[in-house]
Structure formats: structure tokens, C-alpha cells
Symmetry: C2
Subunit: 116 residues, 2 copies
């Protein structure tokens, strides 16, 4: 089984629509990376129904920490900086998406985080 994990900063107090847009941005960016470098995984994930899990962290530091952990584990991940048109300052790092990737490998990195 494959899934995609999206990790969002809960400390920014973004509204639901903002979170949805940032999450979609991360999801698409990471998908494109996997699709390019691991097309078999991207395809399998789509055929399985595009499973996604959205988790939360409480600070920029924690977001960077888990982003680095994903990188260290060899999981493709894409960090999103907001353009800052609304709600938060330009350039603020809001979230990242990791995968689609092997579910167990994702869980070994992100298993300690709670659902948003």
C-alpha cells in the first residue's frame, strides 16, 4: 500500500480554505516529483485510490525537522512557502507533502504526529 502524507503547521491559525489550498499545493508538487522519478509508485497509488493523511505540527522548527527526516529516509517531499496573498506573511513555510510512498516507511517517520 502507498499513501501520501501531508504535514501542516497548526500554529499559523490558517482558516480551512487556506489549509485546503496549501495542502493541495503540497500534494500536487510532491506527486509530480514522485511521478517523474518513481512513476510506478505514483501509478500504483492512484490505482489504490490516492490515499492521503493530513498531520499537524506546532511550529516551523518541527515542520523542518520532519521534512528533514523524510529526506533522510529517502522519501520524496516538497516544502511549500506561501505567496502571502492572504492571512499570513509572504514566504511563510506552511506545510509539506511526502510521497506517495510506501505506507510503512512513511509511518516510521511520521508515526508520532497527530491528525490535523
Amino acid at each position: 500500500m502507498y499513501k501520501q502524507t501531508i504535514v501542516i503547521r497548526a500554529d499559523l491559525k490558517m482558516g480551512k480554505g487556506k489549509i485546503a489550498a496549501q495542502s493541495s499545493h503540497a500534494s500536487l508538487s510532491a506527486y509530480k516529483k514522485v511521478s517523474k522519478n518513481h512513476p510506478d509508485i505514483a501509478k500504483a497509488w492512484e490505482q489504490e485510490g490516492q490515499m492521503k493523511v493530513v498531520l499537524k505540527v506546532q511550529s516551523e522548527e518541527q515542520l523542518f525537522d520532519f521534512f528533514q527526516k523524510a529526506k533522510d529516509a529517502g522519501i520524496p517531499a516538497e516544502l511549500i512557502r506561501d505567496a502571502g496573498h492572504t492571512q499570513i506573511d509572504p514566504g511563510t513555510v506552511t506545510c509539506f507533502a511526502a510521497g506517495p510512498w510506501n505506507e510503512k516507511e512513511l509511518d516510521s517517520v511520521f508515526g508520532g504526529l497527530k491528525l490535523l
Copy 2:
């Protein structure tokens, strides 16, 4: 300018994480459709920064109504049914994404809807 419009049912009382996952699903599905049939538009949208707007409707009927309006206007759109693992019943229609597409054409269809 191009953008992608995501329309979400606010009547389902989905949590933030659920909304983020459904929105990401819709965004990616519609992007893939546009990327296949209108690759120039998909590419331009990405180069412009992947602008996304997340709007809300208050019922399934209203969601279908606006989905049909997008289709009638020739705008590629993808409807999402939830697999129902969490929070809501399997097969529930939760949202759709339209585009990326010309901003003005999207506004002419969705201009009356409010931000989520």
C-alpha cells in the same frame, strides 16, 4: 492569469484534515485532466505559482449544480466521492476542482460563491 477553483460542501461538517485531503484529491485529479488535454494551460498555471481558490456550497444539490455549470462552460472539472474511511458515509460527494483554467471564465461561473 490562470487559477484552479475548488468547491467544497460545507454542510458535511468535515474537519480541517478531511477537507485538506479531499481538496488535494480534487486538485490533483483536475490538474491531471487539464495537463493531458491542455498541457499549455497546466504549464502556465504552474509557472504563475499554482493559484488556488477554495469556495463553499451548502448542499450536495448546489455542488452538482455548479459542477454542471463548469461543464457547460467547457471548463475541465473533477468530482470527488469519498472512500468513506472516516467521518462520512462511503460514496458521499464532497467537492470538485475546476481547472486550472482562465481566471475570468472561472469567475463568471463561480463568482457568486463565498470563500470557505
